[in-house]
Amino acid sequence: MTDVKHDSHPDDIGCLEAINGLYAYLDGEMNDPQAVRKFEAHLEHCRSCFSRLELESALAEHIRRSAKSRASDRLHDRLRQLIDGL
């Protein structure tokens, strides 16, 4: 695996650094504004990393939609009785 630097952008962080920061960015955990700027600048000219972020975002959204669990009425009743008895 090799890093890809975009020659036309001298300050480019490169694909490896972008990929390593991608999940922190996606989760809102990239707290350094300069790191955010550099990451977003990379996305502006790197189709591969931009597409990866799009796929990751879509997957995360899909997971959130699919994962919603609903506690049964039976469990609600059980907890009500439990709390009443404490």
Partner: protein, 187 residues
Amino acid sequence: MDSLYGLAMRLTRNGADAEDLVADAVAKAWSAIATLEDRERVRAWLFRILHNCYVSEYRKKSVRPVEWSYDERSVDGAEDDLASWLGEQSDEFLIWWANPEREFANRLLGQDIMAAIEELPEVFRTVITLVTIEGLPYDEAAEILGVPPGTVRSRMKRGRTLLQKALWQHGKDAGLIAGDERQGCRI
């Protein structure tokens, strides 16, 4: 309540155990409500009680054996580097990974994604539940699990890539991944 049940389901992977776990956690929380200092963090507090309850009383009687193949020592080391992990994967997977196609996510069924999450080792499906599904920040997830935030960060990276590998394999088997045009890996 649905969130607590959701985490319990991800942990136990069994409806009856999940309900018992929620009931135990709620009973413990109710009796310890006076110790809750910050009421705005009640959700994280409940998650922590439920997780502790699972670790101390449920994990050992889990229907399926506990899987533990993750080396926590890698958190601050080179193995935490996503690129290093990817470097160990097959060329076929790498080519797919490096040439992402947003539509792939749309072709997957929710049940396929949830099945893939369920098959992840416990440490990964737990952080994915807390961070991706429940939307908690890393530091809150870390507090719930009793680990440093860096460990959550590391588990999220590794868990997501393991999940993608599982989904890629599923996509390949189910014919959801285009073949010939996925050339031109840039990484």
